[in-house]
């Protein structure tokens, strides 16, 4: 469902983020993208979210050529992809509940759907008791769980997670990874970018290893090898 076709991203001649990257991801796969900082993991996810355009090559989401979407068509793509970031990217002036509800409003859902689904999703990530807290009143692990709730509330086809555990302690890390696995078990494709060795080794799922912008390994039951 996701295809990278000979994709390169060159910011400047001395800064090449991705070079000739090709791979495809099947529905319901759990794929980890690993590599050191600066190896191009984040750029990869940004290309899929159409935050950046590839310098060469094409990125497909199903039959949609992501690199050629206009600004007006962008929202449609993003409503089908749930994204989770290292820095959470929650709206600071909205409560946890409102942050999740906002994604549903953005997708044009009715008030009944929102009132029904948001509590359910917050229950799933275990945050119903803090639904009316603002982001500034929540811990890192809680913030990331709100972000995950927001990412899955529209039942997306794919969840992208860019270093979701980068700012978290081990216990919270395992909770977040556990949530991602659960989401995957429920039928959603998950793409996880991380440099956390233990996480990768315990997942025992497909691993794409990036090094200096190139795919150096792509294994079905990969381990963290650098």
């Amino acid at each position: 469902m996701i295809y990278f076709d000979k994709v390169s991203k060159v910011y400047s001649p001395t800064s090449i983020a991705l070079e000739d990257v090709s791979f495809s991801i099947e529905p319901q796969e759990f794929v980890s993208v690993v590599g050191q900082s600066g190896s191009g993991k984040t750029t990869l996810l940004k290309l899929l979210l159409a935050e950046e355009k590839p310098t060469a090559g094409k990125v497909f989401f199903e039959s949609l050529d992501v690199s050629r979407l206009s600004n007006g068509e962008l929202p449609k793509l993003r409503r089908r992809i749930g994204a989770v970031f290292q820095d959470y990217k929650l709206l600071p002036t909205k409560t946890a509940y409102e942050n999740v509800a906002f994604a549903m409003e953005a997708a044009g859902k009715t008030d009944e759907e929102i009132n029904g689904d948001v509590p359910q999703v917050l229950e799933l990530v275990g945050l119903m008791d803090k639904a009316w807290h603002f982001p500034s009143e929540l811990s890192g692990g809680e913030l990331q769980r709100v972000a995950i709730a927001r990412a899955i509330v529209n039942r997306p086809d794919v969840v992208l997670a860019d270093e979701p555990t980068g700012n978290l302690d081990p216990i919270n890390t395992w909770e977040i990874i556990g949530l991602l696995e659960k989401i995957n078990e429920l039928g959603t494709t998950v793409m996880l970018a991380t440099h956390d060795k233990e996480v990768i080794n315990s997942l025992k799922r497909r691993v794409i290893t990036l090094e200096k912008g190139k795919v150096v390994r792509d294994e079905k039951r990969g381990r963290y090898v650098l």
Partner: protein
């Protein structure tokens, strides 16, 4: 569907306005300053215009006729003047009326009253007071009156004596109109720019939020509409506050301005035109708020 979208935008705009607290307050206050400048310019324009038009009213040409001039000739001249394009009004003062006015004016002066009685007959001639539509046209009118055919009935025309004064006054009127317009334009431009920039800064603090909304898949309209609602709220509250600020000011300045410019009383003007002035400020505030929000959000919405 559209209705619930609008409801959400309004609700979110109100909530954002409330949660933004100090930023909202500062924005409203700057907007009050801008609207206050606009309103003050409007009021001073009202004063200036009425003072100028009163001055203009006072300028006229008087034609004094010889006491021997027959009344029908004068009336014929009057109707001829009335047909001239440049003439706004002609007023006929008969010699009897002139005498009555003269006596009334000097009723307390025993010497003059006595002298008049002594004289036995009316020494004053009839006159025509001519008002032009435009002060610049007095020259043409006076030339018409100076024609030879009227020579035997016209005693004197006071235009030549007053010419310098009239011309100077015309110049001052013209200059102060132009100056008033220039000052109004310049000050309103400054006020609008300051308010615009404040709103831009307020939205600048939201630029990360805008990019997050975009990432979650919100359309341009959805990201933008709460900001527009906020702009409307800023403008509306600011116009109410400005309107209230003008009340004591008008009450305090009203009598002073009345004495200085010779009316109209600002307080009466403010009260009798309350709704019109409020609507003017409200429109200015809302338009300013909405346009500033539109321009400010446009920049961040262009990014992908």
């Amino acid at each position: 569907m559209l209705k619930s979208e609008i409801n959400r935008a309004i609700k979110q705009g109100v909530v954002n306005f409330w949660r933004n607290g100090w930023v909202s307050l500062a924005t409203v206050l700057v907007m009050v300053l801008a609207l206050f400048v606009l309103g003050a310019l409007f009021f001073s324009n009202v004063l200036l215009t009425s003072a100028l038009s009163r001055l203009e009213e006072k300028v006229d040409i008087s034609v004094y006729f010889k006491t021997s001039a027959p009344e029908e000739d004068i009336l014929a001249l009057k109707s001829a003047l009335g047909k001239l394009q440049e003439v706004k009004a002609v007023e006929y003062v008969s010699s009897d009326q002139a005498l009555a006015a003269f006596q009334e004016r000097h009723a307390e002066n025993a010497l003059i009253t006595q002298a008049l009685e002594e004289l036995g007959e009316n020494p004053l001639g009839a006159s025509l007071n001519v008002k032009a539509k435009d002060p610049r046209q007095y020259e043409a009118i006076s030339r018409f009156l100076e024609a030879e055919s009227f020579e035997n009935i016209v005693d004197k025309i006071n235009y030549r004596q007053n010419q310098v004064v009239i011309e100077k006054l015309t110049g001052i009127l013209k200059a102060s109109r132009a100056l008033g317009l220039g000052i109004t334009l310049a000050l309103s431009a400054i006020a609008i720019l300051v308010a615009f920039n404040t709103i831009r800064l307020a939205i600048y603090t939201s630029k990360d939020e805008i990019s997050i909304m975009r990432l979650v898949g919100a359309s341009t309209a959805r990201v933008r509409s709460p900001f527009l609602v906020e702009g409307v709220i800023h403008g509306a509250i600011a116009s109410v506050l400005t309107m209230l600020a003008f009340w004591p000011l008008a009450a305090w300045l009203g009598p002073k301005a009345d004495r200085f410019f010779g009316g109209p009383n600002l307080l009466n003007y403010y009260l009798s035109n309350f709704l019109a002035i409020f609507l003017m400020l409200l429109t200015a505030g809302v338009v300013l708020g909405v346009i500033s929000s539109l321009i400010a959000t446009r920049r961040y919405l262009k990014e992908r």
